[in-house]
Structures are given as C-alpha cells and as structure tokens.
C-alpha cells in the first residue's frame, strides 16, 4: 500500500514535470470550452440542458487528454530502461500498475475539473440564462459518468502504453481505440440482429447523455466499473507476462 502511494505521487509529479502535460492542458481546456460554447450558441431557444452540452463537449476532448496522459505511463519506462530499475525494486506488479493508473487518472481529473466549472461560470455571467437551466443534480450525475468514463479510458490507455515502447505509437493507438469505444453503440447497431435498443447498452455517448440529464442508471455504472477492473487485471497480467517468457 505504501509503495502504491509512492508510485502514485511519483507518477502525478512526473505528469506535471513534462511540458507536454501543460500543452495538453491548455489545448484541452480551450477546445472543450470552445466546443461547449458552440453547443450553447447552436442550441439557443431549445430546451437542451446545459449540463448535457457540457459533458458532451468534455467527453469528446477527453479522448485526446487521456491518450496523451496515458502514453508515457509504461512506454517511457520501457524506452528509457527505467522499467528495469522499477521492476527490480521490491514492488509488486499490482502496485506498479495501480500506482501508475492512479497517477494518470488523477492528472486527467485535475485537468478536467476546471472545465466542469465552465457551466457555472457561464450561468454566473449570463443574466439571460434562467438559473434553473443549471441543475446541480444533473451536473453531479454527469460528473459521475464522466469519472467512470475517464477511469475506463485511462485503463485502456495504460494497457496500450504497456504494449509498446514508443510513446507516439501508444498515443495514436489509444486515441483510435477510444474513438472506437466512444462510437461502439453506433458501430454495433450496424451489425445484423442487433436492435437499436441493445446497442444503446454499449454506447458511452448515450450513457453520458442520459447521466448529464440527471437520469442515473446502474447498468452503465456496472459496465464501466467492471470494464475498468478487467482492463487493469489484464494490465497486471501483461506486466507479469515477462516472467513467463
């Protein structure tokens, strides 16, 4: 447990020591803010909830954020050879995977947090907007789904990063996989024998849409929690696999 916190702290500091992190942060905040604003302008006069627009914009750019935040987790260690010093220290594979995962995920959440504040800033400065347009409950449930998706995406990123020693390859592969996951609902619905209703179970876009309207459903929660746990388990196994070769 102590090692987990040591690794977590090291990983989080490492994120903030790299210039890439700051570039990503600025790009993420600017782009997600811009997308949110565009959504608001386009939907003037409709009864689209603001929280709905916010989280749609956030999740869109989270794919970039997670790809960049996760790419260095293992790829960098493998490239520079520090994986050798790390794995010969008395730390277990589980501690390494969880420590790195927690470090990456907390970085993503720290960066995304100010973006969630956009909605309150908008409401504050726009007297035209009815205060009831921002439903704190809906924002909260949106945050929950956003957190779950970040956790799930980060686990994907970690696994991808583990499979290569090139950070650029890791980022691009992760980005592609994340978009496939994001569009999974639409992709599945194109298959024969799949009803649109069934496809909705696997659509993160639908889930974030539902949750950011304030409708909380346990099924997606279970899906993403178990998905994350499974991916992290797989990551531990991949890391362990060096002991079978």
């Amino acid at each position: 447990m102590r090692n987990f916190f040591t690794l977590w702290k090291r990983e989080l500091t490492a994120c903030f020591l790299s210039p890439i992190a700051y570039v990503t942060m600025v790009v993420f905040l600017a782009m997600s803010g811009g997308t949110f604003l565009m959504g608001v302008v386009r939907n003037v006069g409709t009864n689209q909830p603001l929280s709905n627009l916010l989280f749609a914009a956030l999740i869109l750019w989270t794919t970039v954020l997670v790809s960049v935040a996760s790419m260095r987790l293992f790829a960098e260690e493998k490239k520079s050879g520090t994986i050798e010093t790390l794995m010969t220290a008395p730390v277990t594979d589980v501690e390494v995977v969880l420590g790195k995962y927690a470090g990456g995920l907390s970085f993503v959440l720290i960066v995304a947090l100010p973006a969630i504040a956009n909605i309150f800033i908008l409401a504050w400065f726009s007297p035209g907007i009815n205060t009831t347009a921002v439903d704190p409950g809906a924002v909260l449930s949106g945050c929950l789904m956003f957190f779950l998706l970040c956790a799930f995406f980060m686990a994907i990123g970690l696994l991808v990063s583990m499979m290569t020693n090139n950070q650029v390859v890791a980022a691009i592969c992760c980005f592609c996989v994340l978009w496939l996951v994001l569009l999974a609902g639409s992709l599945i619905s194109a298959l024969p024998l799949i009803t649109p209703h069934l496809a909705e179970f696997f659509s993160p876009v639908m889930h974030i849409d539902d949750f950011s309207r304030g409708s909380v459903d346990t099924r997606p929660v279970v899906l993403y929690v178990s998905g994350t746990v499974f991916l992290l388990f797989a990551a531990v196994r991949v890391l362990e696999s060096r002991r079978w070769k």
Partner: protein, 317 residues
Amino acid sequence: MIKVEHLTKRYGKTTAINDLSFEVAQGEIVGFLGPNGAGKTTTMRILSCFMPATGGTVKIGGLDVFTHSIEVRRKIGYLPENSPLYQDMRVIEYLRFRARLKGLAGRKLRMRVDEVMSACGIADVRRSIIGRLSKGYAQRVALADAMVHEPELLILDEPTIGLDPNQIRQIRALIKSIGKRQTVLLSSHILPEVEMVCDRVLIINKGTIVASDTPQNLVGRMKSSPSLVAEIKGPTEAILSKLRAIEGVIRVSFEVSDEWGRFVCECDKAADVRAAIFQAVSANGWMLRELREEKRNLEDVFVSVTTTEPADVKEMN
C-alpha cells in the same frame, strides 16, 4: 550468497545462457567477465529478478529468485547497464523516491540518502535535474540508488562505464569498501580494474563458464609463459629460423618496425630463453636493440578462454 545451478535462458531459438552454474560466497567481490553477447547482462537480469530463467535455479541468500521474488529484491541492489534514470527528477528527489520504494522511511531514509550521496560524490549536484547531468554523474546517481537500502548483495552491470579515471578510482575504492561488508557481483570490460578490485573472476563465453578463479591464479594457469619481444636487425628469414630452433620457444611471429625486425616469441613456461636469444644474435653478428618480457595479465586469460580454439590452431601452423 548466490547459488546458480544449471541456469539456462533461451530467447526464442537463440540460447543466451546454457547450463550455467556458479556460487558466490558472502562478502566476496566477484568480477563477471565475458565478450559482448556472452550472457552477462542476461544472467544479471535473472539474478535481480527482472526476468525469469528458462531452466535451472537461482538462489540468493537461500531464497529462490522466482518464488520469493520480492524478498530477494529487498536483499539486492541492482545497477542495470547504461544506468537508466528518470530524466525529469532532481537527484535528491529520485534517491528519496527509490529509497521509499525499497522500504526506508523517515529519518533513516534521509540519513541513508545523504550518506550514499556523499559516498558517491554527488552531494554537490543534489538539486540538479538528472537529465542535465553528465554521464559520469548520472552513473554515480544510479550507483547511489543501487546501494541506498544497504543491500546484502550488489549486482553492478558495468559500474564504471562513462567515468573519468579519477572517478573510476573513487568508485573502485567505494566498491572495495562495500565489499568488506556486502557481497558484490560486477561486470566490466576494464580488465585491469577487475584485477585490482575482485577477489574472484568468472569468465563466461557463449553462455557457459569458461574460467573461475582468483585473477592471480588464472594468470598463473595460462598454458604458455610470458612472451618475449626482441627487436633485432638482420636477415629476417635467418633470424626466424634461428629463433625457432632455440629450445623452449614454441612459436615466433614477426612484425616489421622500420629496418629493425620485431620478433615476438612465445615460450615454454619453464624455459628462460633470453640468454639463448642473445647468444644467437651475437653469434650471427646481428644487432639486438630490445629484449623484453611481456607479463601475462587478465586480458590474455580473457582472450585465450573466449576466442575459439580453431583460430589458435591456425595461427600455430
């Protein structure tokens, strides 16, 4: 301390280590030598629990490296080849992070970090970012990391690479002083250094041990005695045949250096042929400028046990 039995490692079809067995006792400083690609790094990686063996067992302090990996890792300090470090951290941050991972805490942690920094001569760069350090400093940071938790066994893969002669001396003294209390296994290509530091030398070639003894014994056991270098002015062919005729001379090779011929005689161990060479020269009216005995050293042992036999035979004919 280390007990390696029938260790084998295969990468796909290529065999890196083949049936390697050796032991290292507590408190020994053992030099691990071999040509590039002989399996040194692979062996060290297996010893340090970074990768498993294909076959055989490795026990460190009585514990198996595969089944008791974590306990073994607490006992060892490992310096990998090329000293990989986190480039973006400061020296002191890095060492504290590593010390914490290795189970140190609180005052003990700070004390040990300060101790190893001064022992390795990196106290003056404690606040520097590792990525901006010179190779020599980085190497010493990695060494400090390997010994921060006072491991019972230090495994050092080329610890003095990239250091200048002064730093090499410093590190050599450090390793010697560590060797009084702890066990050290180090690999190096700088043979005089190994000769000076190590109690015992293991030479491996193509994944098997080809020699294991103290440096002195290894040198003493060489088949032929020191070679003689003689610089003689005269007809080359005649000199060669006269020299070969001397009893005790095994083979003579000829190297030209200006008008003087340079002859290298390899002689029998027991024979001292220096007087005979002088006589041969004076009897024929040639001139002798230099007659020098070349002492055998670890390098010769290394070359003789790691180069293949057929090449030697060819040279003889």
